[in-house]
């Protein structure tokens, strides 16, 4: 019977949580960034304002 | 073998940009077709599409009188397709094997007989282009697709080019050339791209 198993278990769950949450965060940030860019593109496209186009 | 090339409403888009649309023409056997247009208008892409390297976005391309289109054509691009370390003669022997031709007396025809054993890297730009032209006569193929063939050719080099094209067309061949200024061969058809 392996003693002190809980330390290993918590380590494994912590690493998994960090990796998956980290990946989710990166994906979410990237998705939000490009959604914003696309929205900005739509607003300038169908509202041709006289002002200079706001290039990012 | 008489070959006719029929193009119906060809369209090509690269990276989201449409190069040309609704391009139709028919090239009869024995004719020389000039392809004109500013840089970036898609002249090279059109030639590569005719050669079958590039997939068209739309349109129908038909080689009448030829069972396998890619076996009936020669392609001369911007690069000469030469290996610096191989001699001029080695190139002709390689092309004779690759395309299935005899390859006799070819270097004489393009005026490179003396440079027979020189490795391609020591040839001048003009000589290298002449060696590339030699490929066209190494194996007899009815359709020639030439992308700015006169590039890097001097006076009598252009004369040789015009002679080769004229001979080819007179003996039932068909030639396309993307050009910026005339090659000295009467063109029976001009396809112009990128008018916009």
């Amino acid at each position: 019977m392996i003693e002190g198993g809980w330390a290993y278990v918590y380590a494994a769950y912590a690493v998994t949580g960090l990796a998956l949450a980290g990946a989710a965060l990166v994906v979410a940030l990237r998705a939000r960034h490009w959604a914003k860019q696309a929205r900005k593109l739509d607003t300038t496209a169908n509202r041709p304002n006289p002002g200079p186009a706001s290039n990012p | 073998m008489s070959v006719r090339l029929i193009a119906k409403s060809l369209e090509l888009a690269r990276g989201g940009r449409t190069l040309f649309r609704d391009l139709s023409f028919t090239a009869e056997q024995g004719s020389f077709v000039e392809i004109r247009g500013p840089n970036g208008a898609g002249k090279t892409s059109l030639l590569r599409a005719l050669a079958g390297f590039l997939r068209l976005s739309a349109g129908v391309l038909r080689f009448e009188g030829a069972e396998e289109p890619f076996l009936t054509l020669h392609f001369l691009g911007h690069q000469n397709g030469l290996k610096g370390a191989a001699s001029a003669d080695a190139h002709v022997r390689y092309w004779a094997g690759l395309f299935g031709g005899a390859g006799g007396g070819v270097l004489e025809r393009v005026g490179l007989a003396r440079a027979k054993d020189l490795p391609a890297r020591v040839l001048s730009q003009g000589q290298a282009r002449r060696l590339a032209l030699a490929r066209l006569v190494t194996a007899r193929r009815p359709v020639w697709l030439l992308d700015e063939p006169a590039a890097a050719l001097d006076g009598n080099g252009r004369g040789l080019l015009a002679e080769l094209i004229a001979d080819h067309c007179n003996t039932g061949g068909l030639a396309f050339a993307a050009v910026h200024e005339p090659l000295g061969v009467a063109s029976s058809l001009t396809v112009s791209l990128g008018g916009g």
Binding site: - | F70, F75, Q79, K83, W95, G97, L98, R135
Partner: protein, 216 residues
């Protein structure tokens, strides 16, 4: 002379031009030299672990030659001409692979004999090692053709090829090293032959598909 032989002769000749096989062969011997430098000259240790490490040196030597196999043809326009040949592109790719195997592979295989002895392989096993290297090199090149073709358009794609192709090298290295360390040599040799045949059969097909895309 048919297109296959013409392509084979040309590539074989080009491998010999410009110092030819000296570089890959020298690199193979140099990489083999690193083994005792890393593990120490102690003979019993080397005898126990040395011989299989020839395979790392052989893999590195092959990887070093892959980058220019198709990149040169793409850059100088030769690929367009290969597409216009009556012979299928797969056959021409196979011809280039065969030229690489004979011009570069065979010298490395032959140099494998002294290298094996140097790494304290028992003399009676050297013949099996050389045979296995011959098959292994064919497997490496078969897989390497795919890596070289998909990265042909990438400048300085050498490191990228190494990364892409390393997983495909795993089976030949496993069975090749088993022969080198003397574990049931016959079984390992036969599976290695299987790997080589598989790579030689499938590699050119995938590589030709990739090259057609490169020419677009």
């Amino acid at each position: 002379m048919n297109p296959f032989l013409a392509t084979f002769r040309r590539d074989f000749a080009l491998h010999w031009a410009g110092g030819g096989v000296l570089a890959p062969l020298g690199y193979f011997l140099g990489a083999t030299l690193l083994v005792p430098l890393a593990m120490g000259p102690e003979r019993t240790l080397l005898a126990a672990a040395g011989p299989p490490l020839i395979w790392i040196a052989a893999a590195l030597a092959v990887l070093a030659t892959l980058e220019r196999v198709f990149q040169a043809d793409l850059e100088d326009g030769s690929l367009d001409q290969m597409l216009l040949s009556p012979a299928p592109l797969e056959a021409l790719v196979l011809a280039k692979g065969a030229a690489l195997w004979i011009a570069v592979g065979v010298p490395i295989v032959l140099a494998g004999a002294p290298a094996a002895v140097a790494l304290q392989a028992p003399p009676e096993r050297v013949a099996a090692i050389v045979a296995s290297l011959g098959l292994g090199l064919a497997a490496f090149i078969g897989a390497g053709l795919v890596g070289a073709a998909v990265t042909a358009g990438v400048k300085r794609g050498g490191v990228l090829i190494a990364l892409i192709v390393v997983p495909f090298f795993a089976p030949p290295i496993i069975f090749g090293s088993a022969v080198a360390s003397g574990d049931d040599i016959d079984a390992a040799l036969s599976v290695l032959a299987g790997c080589a045949l598989g790579a030689v059969a499938l590699g050119p097909i995938a590589a030709a598909a990739a090259l057609r895309l490169q020419a677009e």
